[in-house]
């Protein structure tokens, strides 16, 4: 079965510092990877997906099949980036398996 691991439950950085949220997955095939963001007590929103290879709100993520990773990066963190971030994987086309989430806190 597939599995998604986010090793950091909490990541705290200062405004303007680079951010990297780690995500590792286990699956022998070719999964589709996503990052979702959840601002305080709101619904989850799709941040980006690897197949689109786009940058949203300054965030990027590259799928590394050799390391089975899909780390989320942003060169300069902003206070409004503070949120819960979830990495997710889809192998059946329409179901997501989530990691445990990482809370990002950006301090002023």
């Amino acid at each position: 079965a597939q599995r998604v691991t986010q090793p950091e439950k909490l990541l705290s950085v200062f405004k303007g510092a680079p951010v990297e949220l780690k995500c590792n997955y286990s699956y022998s095939g070719s999964p589709e990877l996503f990052w979702y963001v959840q601002y305080s007590r709101q619904r989850l929103q799709l941040l980006l997906r690897h197949i689109s290879r786009e940058s949203i709100k300054g965030f990027t993520a590259d799928l590394n099949k050799g390391e089975t990773s899909f780390h989320l990066k942003k060169p300069f963190a902003q206070e409004e980036d503070s949120a819960m971030y979830y990495c997710a994987l889809s192998v059946a086309g329409n179901m997501l398996t989530f990691g445990g989430g990482t809370r990002l806190m950006v301090k002023p």
């Binding site: 619904r43 989850l44 929103q45 799709l46 329409n94 398996t97 989530f98 989430g101």
Partner: protein, 113 residues
């Protein structure tokens, strides 16, 4: 935002009582899901539906049942609520023509006392 409405948004219930959460969509999407969100566990799939009257179990289905009699509605029922079912429940939907993007509702906070 995708047209997904969850009700109730907040509920406190007693152990042993039945509880039904409703998810209503206006997008005519084929797939609907129920997830629960717990600290440290992220979101875990409870049940999902791939069409009217077509449902299947997810990762944490014990103690839950679902029904989908109409495309737009997906009901999650806790037959006899337990304290371990205190959680935030999210409904989600996805279609087949949008790259399989899954959209989430706003969540239902359930407390079992």
């Amino acid at each position: 935002d995708a047209g997904i409405t969850q009700s109730p948004r907040h509920k406190v219930t007693e152990t042993g009582t039945p509880v039904t959460l409703r998810c209503h969509q206006t997008e005519n999407h084929r797939y609907m899901y129920w997830y629960r969100q717990d600290p440290g566990h992220g979101l875990r799939l409870i049940h999902y539906s791939y069409g009217v009257k077509d449902t299947d179990k997810g990762e944490v289905s014990d103690g839950y049942s679902v029904s989908r009699s109409k495309t737009e509605d997906f009901l999650l029922t806790l037959e006899s609520a337990t304290s371990s079912q205190t959680s935030v429940y999210f409904c989600a939907i996805s279609g087949t023509g949008n790259g399989n993007t899954i959209y989430f509702g706003e969540g239902s906070w359930l407390t079992v006392v």
